[in-house]
């Protein structure tokens, strides 16, 4: 069974600081997605990473994929309160079957 693990599970950081969320997965895949979920809300797509070495950036968030290490990172630069949410990575296992990570609950403190 494919396992997708994120760490940390909970992250409390001060505004203006940088931090990285890690997503490790157990089976070969070169398609990885990052989503954001606000409390009680649906999921919003952030990034789609489709190949080894892929890097995408949007605002204060940057995601990367290392398929050989089976690792994706979501880097937060100069965090602001609006980034407080739960972040999920999801691995596309067979081309149309998606396994989500455990989620990282991020709280940005003023």
């Amino acid at each position: 069974e494919l396992k997708v693990e994120q760490n940390p599970l909970f992250l409390s950081m001060q505004e203006g600081k940088n931090y990285t969320i890690y997503c490790n997965y157990s089976t070969t895949s070169d398609r990885l997605y990052w989503y954001r979920q606000d409390p009680g809300k649906s999921l919003e797509s952030l990034f789609v990473l489709l190949s080894n070495g892929a890097v995408k950036q949007e605002g204060r968030l940057m995601a990367s994929l290392d398929t050989k290490a089976r690792l994706s990172t979501l880097h937060i630069t100069a965090a602001v309160h609006d980034l407080s949410a739960t972040y999920f990575c999801a691995v596309d296992y067979t081309g149309n079957q998606f396994y989500f990570g455990t989620g990282t609950s991020l709280t940005v403190i003023p």
């Binding site: 649906s42 999921l43 067979t94 081309g95 149309n96 079957q97 998606f98």
Partner: protein, 114 residues
């Protein structure tokens, strides 16, 4: 901007009853998905659907579950005989393509089994 719509937003059902959750995907999307999220936990894949048939399904998607696209717009998830452990938020999602395109999620249906 087009969006995925789900109805109802909240469904309360007695254990053992059948329930149908409804979704209207974005009109030009071809791939459809159902996920569930038990409160406070991760999102779990249930099933993917393409070209009027199931593409992939998870171990969770057993004989109690079925999906259907009865017309050109709706995509439904049926649970035949609900159990207490079926209580969760159910999300529908759709995408233009299976690879490389983000999935667009609906706001979800909260299913409560009594």
């Amino acid at each position: 901007e087009p969006e995925v719509t789900q109805t109802p937003s909240h469904q309360v059902t007695q254990m053992g009853q059948e329930v149908i959750l409804r979704c209207v995907p974005i009109s030009n999307h071809l791939y459809f998905y159902w996920y569930r999220q038990i409160l406070g936990q991760k999102v779990e894949f249930l099933v993917s659907f393409y070209n009027n048939e199931i593409s992939e399904k998870s171990e969770i998607f057993d004989d109690q579950f079925s999906v259907e696209r009865p017309d050109g717009s709706n995509f439904t998830l049926k649970i035949r005989s609900t159990k207490l452990e079926d209580s969760a938020m159910y999300f529908c999602a759709s995408s233009v393509d299976a690879v490389g395109q983000p999935q667009h999620f609906g706001d979800g249906t909260r299913l409560s089994i009594l």
